[in-house]
């Protein structure tokens, strides 16, 4: 009990992890994740069904944890029917039984009702050592139980891989539904596993390029609801929207500065598409590029000092980098084909991901900036909009499959491939949100 107390993780009062939605509209269809390629030496783990209060639990916590770990591609979870017993606390674990079955890791736990919701206790045990690796008690409101389960998954993932988990993070994306001859566009947000999808904005006009502010509270995106492209910033909790750019020509490609105070964007108000930075508080614009060619798709480096962007100033779209403080742009993609576009930095700033074309196919690639090493990670024809997970391990992107756009994810080492499908919808333009603080 002492061990539990010293690492008390409290998420009581959390509604959608701090995001109190004014009137959440839940999306009709839930996303399903399918691992299409995983690692060969996936870590075996057994998550024993948690003991529930007699009235039951609104969310099957241990099932969510099982699905999270399995869907990461790094774990092989044990089917409940294969388990020799179903202990709920550390002292009831018969380690010899699990050892005999070749099981390395074991998670046991129980949930009980509290005045304001539920208390979930769990322990991760090392079967061979017969010892506890970690043990936590998580307090959660009923409405946040699924997110609490994702946080438990993150704790287990980090303990066993040494890397921060991203189960308790969110993604945003655009869905397009055909209604007769017309189309309906939704800006949606969901947990990283596609659960809890919420519609944040809906219109009959195209919307594109949603990006999560690093503070986790706002999204910027492009909407054509006024006819021309315009950039909006929307507060996720209140739903309040603010138009931040709607000049002549295009207003697009928003990208947040690391401190969430500025937006880089593409405007053509002064002629052709150029990159500007707008300070959202002072409404001041700073022009970054000045060039007859297309300059677009800016993204800030994690230290906020540089921007990468796409330009066809050399005759074909390539990736360039320029200091935010001014200075000349430097091309980053040399001898890497005729088409490289839509770049963004990895969270540690050491890599870029972007769309790379080879043999007529548009695929997701990563470029190691120190070693100038380009690695193509996907093999479809029309992959785009890559976005790093906040731990830098996975990249979510959109792909065309069966003539429809859907989401997919790939690990940076190229070993794990996942498909995320929402029935009945085109899904595109994903952006992976920050760690939830």
């Amino acid at each position: 009990m002492k061990k539990i107390a010293q690492a008390l993780l409290t998420i009581a009062g959390l509604n959608l992890a701090g995001l109190h939605l004014a009137s959440p509209v839940f999306a009709e269809e839930v996303m399903t994740i399918e691992i299409t390629e995983g690692v060969e030496n996936a870590t075996p783990i057994a998550i024993v069904p948690f003991e529930s209060p007699e009235a039951g639990l609104p969310v099957n916590i241990s099932q969510v944890v099982t699905d999270d770990l399995e869907s990461s591609g790094y774990f092989k979870t044990m089917p409940v029917t294969d388990m020799p017993s179903q202990p709920n606390d550390f002292k009831s674990i018969m380690f010899d039984d699990w050892k005999r079955m070749g099981m390395d890791n074991l998670v046991v736990g129980k949930a009980s009702e509290t005045a304001s919701g539920y208390a979930i206790e769990f322990r991760l045990a090392d079967v061979y050592k017969g010892s506890q690796l970690t043990g936590l008690r998580v307090m959660s409101k009923a409405s946040s139980l699924r997110f609490a389960a994702h946080q438990i998954s993150d704790v287990i993932y980090e303990k066993l891989t040494g890397e921060q988990g991203v189960f308790a993070t969110r993604i945003t994306y655009i869905t397009v539904k055909k209604e007769g001859k017309k189309k309906r566009y939704h800006l949606e947000m969901a947990d990283a596993d596609g659960s809890n999808p919420v519609v944040l904005f809906s219109t009959s006009h195209p919307i594109m390029s949603p990006v999560w502010a690093p503070n986790g509270h706002q999204l910027a995106y492009v909407s054509f609801e006024e006819g021309n492209s315009a950039i909006y910033v929307q507060n996720i909790s209140t739903g309040k929207r603010q138009m931040v750019a709607s000049g002549r020509g295009i207003n697009s490609s928003p990208a947040w500065s690391p401190d969430s105070s500025k937006l880089a964007m593409t405007l053509s108000k002064d002629g052709n598409p150029e990159i500007y930075i707008k300070n959202i508080r002072t409404n001041q614009f700073t022009r970054i590029t000045n060039n007859r060619a297309i300059d677009t798709e800016a993204a800030f480096s994690p230290d906020g000092r540089n921007l990468v962007f796409t330009s066809n100033r050399g005759g074909s779209p390539q990736i360039y980098q320029t200091p935010v403080s001014g200075g000349s742009a430097q091309r980053l993609t040399f001898n890497m084909g005729k088409y490289n576009a839509g770049a963004s930095y990895s969270p540690d700033g050491k890599m870029l991901t972007f769309v790379h074309q080879s043999n007529g196919a548009y695929q997701i690639a990563v470029l190691d900036l120190d070693y100038q090493q380009l690695t193509v990670l996907t093999d479809a024809r029309q992959d785009e909009s890559p976005s790093f997970a906040p731990n830098g391990n996975m990249i979510i992107y959109s792909t065309n499959r069966g003539h429809r756009s859907e989401l997919a994810a790939v690990s940076v080492d190229g070993k794990i491939h996942k498909r995320l499908t929402i029935r009945g919808s085109e899904v595109r333009d994903p952006d992976w949100g920050p760690f939830v603080r």
């Binding site: 195209p206 594109m208 054509f224 020509g249 297309i294 798709e297 066809n312 839509g342 769309v355 785009e384």
Partner: protein, 188 residues
Amino acid sequence: MNTLLKSITLITPIILLTGCGGSESITKSNETVATVEDHSIGEGNLDNGEMDVLDEEATTYAVDGATGYDISDLNDPDSPLSIRVIYFEYDSSAVLADYRPAVEAHAAYLANNPGTVITLEGHADEQGSREYNLALGELRAKSLKQQMVLMGASPEQITTVSYGEERPAEDAHDDEAYSLNRRAELVY
């Protein structure tokens, strides 16, 4: 730019252009009778779509409103004004020479009807990056506008908007659909 326009206005008589169909005569309200020439330009003399009005022989433009196209031509399916969509090559915003007769006709129509305004919608196919395609659509609409202004339309008459790959003409995902989606639409 100004000198270019002046040199064009000095040239008489005004020759009207239709799409294809060889020669025929059209009588316009004033005294001018002009032979209409077939100006569909063959593959051989494609000039990469670069706009260079002065190099084009036997081509003049109605730019001063004295004569040219009127409202009835706008609805005439045989008029080059009926061409309202212009297609582009992959990753290019150059207006192909094939479309010059139609572009000239629209410019002349606008010059003759100063009260008329037009929106040029730039579009891209879905290949590659969505935001780059929005910029490409913008450049397509603007390069078309630039040509029409060179040919006598007033910049104030022409609004451009880019929809990138967001409003495809064809929803299919093949080369044929892509070639139909790389376009600029002239919307009166």
